[in-house]
Amino acid sequence: MINKIFPCAEAALTDVHDGATVMIGGFGTAGLPSELIDALIARGSRELTIVNNNAGNGQTGLAALLAAGRVRKIVCSFPRQADSHHFDALYRAGRIELELVPQGNLAERIRAAGAGIGGFFTPTGYGTDLARGKETREIEGRMYVLEAPIHADFALIKAERGDRWGNLTYRMTARNFGPIMAMAAKVTVATVHDVVDLGGLDPEAVVTPGLFVQRVVAVARTATSAGGFRHAA
């Protein structure tokens, strides 16, 4: 029998090794898998390369992982925010490596990894500092930059509902990077707010088919709420 349901976040992350590349879903705090990040901090893995759109907010979640000194390198599009204090301090002290990637290139590089694409030509970034040193090509009169896929050892994502095969649905803009990160990692761990029986998800509405997901953890519906959550129908 296939059963990808794990009892808790800690149990789903026991094999995250030092030096691993870990994708973490979320855009700001929407879709950020806070329980998995807390478990990753507790696990103590070091020298991590983190792939996320941002570089942490405030004192919790990704910011706490950075503050704990566990991250060697971060790959992201928008590290600087009003409350990205921990990243800012590490970066200014030269204690973290930053690979800054335009957001659409970040998404497509992740998607490419999951789709088995060895690289792609994109017009984004052509002629800018972020394309410096990269191969360029003129295609039908337009200039493009060659970008490489981003693979990961683990993807930690937040979904809404899931089943024991790993099928997932998401909620609103918390979907963001979840579906593509699930495709790009060797091991994808997803939190869900509801575990349902097989057949309990409308197959027409499944966003991430279970083959992209290895582990599912049920968590309480509190992570990103500021009072606005309604229970999913």
Partner: protein, 213 residues
């Protein structure tokens, strides 16, 4: 007549006037978000936000915020009937694939050839952050810029060549400032509109690239 610059809302109103019925539009974070408040009555405009939503509605009432439903500025929004959610790669395919009609972006500088600088000042201690700016600038069918005409120090933000790091080359179609509306054409900057009472030679004096009336 004494010259009065347009207010931010008046600039937003001026941008909104140029957004056609049925347009799919992305409004950049900051100043451009004001444009949503000024879409003329009777025009149906669909707003896209790069974090995976199309059909963005107005801000929620206090207490009704849902932090799973936010825009690119990470502010709570609402979803209009007909709206849809999608993942990040699809969202940027909408941009890069040329499926958005218009994007409106803020800027540090725009050059006479439509080069845009809006992501990094290049200062040694500045932490760079690019977000979706480079994808948006090259992706939409038309890229509009909305910005102050001059910096707080009085320097023109319209320049012959950008001194700040570029976001994208030759991507800006129109520039909306608190003093003028300027079209970027293959033969240079064409003045479309300016505030009442501002003489052309005075506007030219405030603009570091040649303007054609």
């Amino acid at each position: 007549m004494k010259t009065r610059p347009w207010t931010r809302d008046e600039v937003a109103q001026r941008v909104a006037r140029d957004i056609h019925d049925g347009a799919i539009v992305n409004l950049g974070i900051g100043l451009p978000t004001l444009v949503a408040n000024h879409i003329p009555a009777g025009r149906e405009v669909i707003l896209h936000s790069e974090n995976g939503v199309i059909g963005v509605g107005p801000s929620p009432a206090p207490g009704a915020e849902d932090h799973d439903l936010i825009n690119a500025g990470k502010q709570p929004v609402t979803l209009l009937p007909g709206g849809a959610f999608f993942h990040h790669a699809d969202s940027f395919a909408m941009m890069r694939g040329g499926h958005l009609d218009i994007c409106v972006l803020g800027a540090f500088q725009v050059s006479a050839t439509g080069d845009l600088a809006n992501w990094h000042t290049g200062a040694a201690d500045a932490i760079p952050a690019v977000g979706g700016a480079m994808d948006l600038a090259i992706g939409a069918k038309k890229t509009y810029v909305m910005m102050e005409h001059s910096t707080k120090g009085g320097q023109s933000k319209i320049v012959r060549a950008c001194s700040y790091p570029l976001t994208a080359m030759a991507c800006v179609r129109r520039i909306y400032t608190d003093l003028a509306v300027i079209e970027v054409t293959p033969t240079g900057l064409q003045l479309i509109d300016k505030v009442d009472g501002l003489a052309l030679d005075e506007l030219q004096r405030l603009t570091d690239a040649p303007l054609r009336a």
